[in-house]
């Protein structure tokens, strides 16, 4: 059974290009604009959509994504609302993988089984849940795999060779390498070290590896894209939403701001293997 995620990576590999995973917060800055942003991502050049689940206490996120989450929550976003966004998106797009990224409590609160059923029905492909390490695989990872959803794991610079097999054991879809010890949006310290780290992970798995955290510009994209199967970009996009607002409200520039930035990053990626 090939999944949307598998097909997307296979296509990018065949074309010898790294792919772009674009993170936006589900329902930021308001529910309608958030939907419009999501819908615009594939055409702008995003190969995978990471849709943020807003949470009141995002402990691994920097200020930009914290604020995006707060805007979405203030606009009335809920976990069910984000699932509704995916459902809406799937009416017009059957091919772009959608991965939900967030924290465990809203899912636990809804109930794991119920959540997995709804997510599958909505057309979700995978999950990245920041506060569920391998040690807690029985909570959601194993049930998600049984339900046919990929559970994508973060690996970090602190995940050494001894620990990597544990982390990779139940990972599927792809591996998300967090380029630094830190929260989302901080600056990447050493680009060379990222390439080495990706090779280290690839020695343990056949899964594709994408690199995220700290990628901000088309040049970053071009550089990191050289070393990995793809890159993930989030903070700059959520920040672009924030900067487009007037008095906290979306403007006619909001969707375009994200779309242009994604197009720019996708352009940078195209250069990376040229």
């Amino acid at each position: 059974m090939t999944t949307r995620i598998d097909r997307t990576f296979a296509a990018a590999k065949a074309a010898n290009r790294p792919l772009l995973a674009a993170y936006v917060m589900g329902g930021d800055p308001d529910l309608a604009t958030g939907q419009a942003i999501m819908n615009a991502l594939p055409q702008a050049g995003a190969d995978i959509i990471e849709l943020g689940l807003p949470f009141s206490d995002p402990m691994a996120d920097g200020v930009a994504i914290q604020m995006g989450g707060q805007r979405a929550l203030k606009a009335g976003q809920t976990l069910r609302g984000v699932l509704g966004m995916v459902e809406e998106f799937r009416r017009k797009d059957e091919t772009t993988p959608v991965v939900l990224m967030g924290y465990y409590n809203p899912i636990y609160s809804l109930g794991v089984d119920k959540f997995l059923t709804l997510a599958k029905e909505a057309g979700v492909d995978g999950l990245i849940i920041v506060d569920l390490p391998a040690e807690e695989d029985n909570e959601l990872c194993i049930p998600a795999l049984k339900a046919g959803l990929n559970f994508i794991r973060l690996t970090t610079p602190t995940t050494d060779d001894v620990r990597l097999p544990t982390v990779l054991e139940n990972t599927s879809g792809f591996v998300y390498y967090v380029s630094m010890n830190g929260v989302t949006g901080a600056a990447i310290k050493s680009r060379g070290a990222v390439g080495e780290a990706v090779q280290r992970i690839k020695a343990h798995t056949d899964l594709p590896v994408i690199v995220g955290f700290g990628i901000k510009t088309a040049d970053d994209a071009a550089e990191i894209g050289r070393h990995a199967d793809g890159i993930a970009v989030g903070t700059v996009l959520v920040d672009a939403v924030g900067k487009s607002l007037v008095d906290g409200k979306a403007t006619d520039k909001t969707v375009a701001a994200v779309r242009d930035l994604v197009a720019d990053l996708a352009g940078g990626l195209k250069r990376s293997r040229a």
Partner: protein, 404 residues
């Protein structure tokens, strides 16, 4: 006591107390907390480490803390004899130092060169800044901006002790937000930084570790009471925010069913007021936050509520996982105490015993005030007087209209 039926065996190897506890942290932190656990297991059985803790407890903290018979208050309440376990007489003015000394020695063993901590009322921040001064380690304390305001004396103490105090403006600017920010710092500086958690919550092994360091309270109390009265007390009472003084007081008595155990949660404006209290067990439901599964104040979508309490130390939407377990198993009775009940208890204690309690401890005392009159004069109730109220005189003065 046969160990198999003991309530004192937790947590299991996964860091669980029944359903509660666990290690719900980002991957970046996982290798570190596994290391910490290993180091703690080694330290626990190392006689040199234990001897150093004992020596510091005696000569630095001033242990054992006295067990005091509050005679006037007992007569006034007209029921059981009321006793105070005087943790407020410890160096730095609360029970927090017990845990900080244990953990700072651990941080040294692990070769960490920088300490971070969160604080609500500032008692843990002061205790952390104190041990960092003594052991010559730089320290950064995260404190909600609201709490910085209402606990100014402790902010000044921390600064004088050499700590950097970082006010956190996110959310309501209280303990939860300070903990988020401390976790963000930790993820960023994990290589050299030790996170000195002050309450019996967070990812395994913190709840177990903090409980072990605080259990000296209940162990001493049990011995002191037996020496004075030749028996066990009939009830022990402590306030519960995250619950470190409470679990430290309760743990020695968990397997003594004849001892009733009460935890006083922050009832704020009243348990019926939505988001107007911080009583996570009486008014919340299980969820996952800050590394553990436990009772949490949350809305129907699983977003965490801010909660409210007059006491900065109890103003937290969660509670240590072992308390959640003891709540479900009904071994401990958790009761909400309102802001006003705590304020009344604060004044009564001050006027009748000449002891100014911390607002946190005043919540425990309010429960004692309810409980003692229902028991006969041959019964005894012991309160853990966890902290002194010097830090609160200004905010209480405002509430009472003593300040313009």
């Amino acid at each position: 006591m046969d160990g198999t039926n003991s309530l004192r065996n937790g947590p299991d190897e996964h860091g669980r107390f029944g359903l509660y506890g666990g290690r719900f942290v980002a991957e970046t932190l996982m290798p570190l907390i596994l290391d910490l656990e290993k180091e703690y297991r080694a330290a626990k059985v190392d006689p040199a480490y234990q001897a150093e803790i004992k020596d510091l407890a005696t000569h630095y903290t001033g242990r054992p803390s006295p067990l005091y018979y509050a005679e006037r208050l007992s007569k006034h309440l007209g029921g059981a004899k009321v006793w105070f376990k005087r943790e407020e007489l410890n160096h730095t003015g609360s029970h927090k130092i017990n845990n900080c000394l244990g953990q700072i020695l651990l941080a040294k063993r692990m070769g960490k060169t920088r300490i971070i901590a969160e604080t609500g009322a500032g008692q843990h921040g002061v205790a952390t800044a104190t041990v960092c001064a003594k052991f010559d380690l730089p320290c950064t304390i995260f404190m909600g901006a609201t709490d910085v305001e209402r606990q100014m004396p402790n902010v000044l103490r921390m600064k004088m002790l050499g700590a950097e105090v970082r006010p956190v403006t996110a959310g309501a600017g209280t303990l939860k937000d300070a903990m988020n920010e401390a976790l963000r710092d930790w993820v960023t500086n994990v290589e050299n930084t030790y996170y000195l958690i002050g309450t019996a919550a967070g990812p395994h092994p913190y709840p177990e570790m903090v409980r072990d360091f605080q259990s000296v309270i209940g162990t001493e109390l049990k011995e002191q009471f037996r020496e004075l009265e030749g028996k066990l007390p009939d009830a022990v009472v402590a306030c519960v925010g995250g619950g470190s003084n409470a679990i430290g007081t309760f743990h020695a008595f968990l397997d003594d069913p004849e001892v009733a155990i009460y935890g006083a949660e922050a009832g704020g404006h009243g348990i019926e007021v939505e988001n107007g209290h911080a009583a996570s067990m009486t008014g919340g439901r299980p969820g996952v936050l800050h590394g553990n599964r436990t009772y949490l104040l949350q809305d129907k979508d699983g977003q965490i509520l801010e909660g409210h309490s007059i006491s900065a130390g109890l103003d937290y939407p969660g509670v240590g996982p072992e308390h959640s377990y003891l709540h479900d198993s009904k071994r401990v009775t958790y009761v909400p105490i309102t802001d006003n009940e705590a304020l009344e208890a604060f004044q009564l204690c001050t006027r009748m015993e000449g002891i100014i309690p911390a607002l946190e401890s005043a919540h425990g005392l309010a429960q004692v005030i309810k409980l003692a009159p229902t028991l006969g004069p041959d019964k005894s109730v012991v309160l853990c007087l966890s902290g002194r109220g010097d830090k609160d005189v200004e905010s209480v003065g405002k509430y009472l209209g003593l300040l313009k």
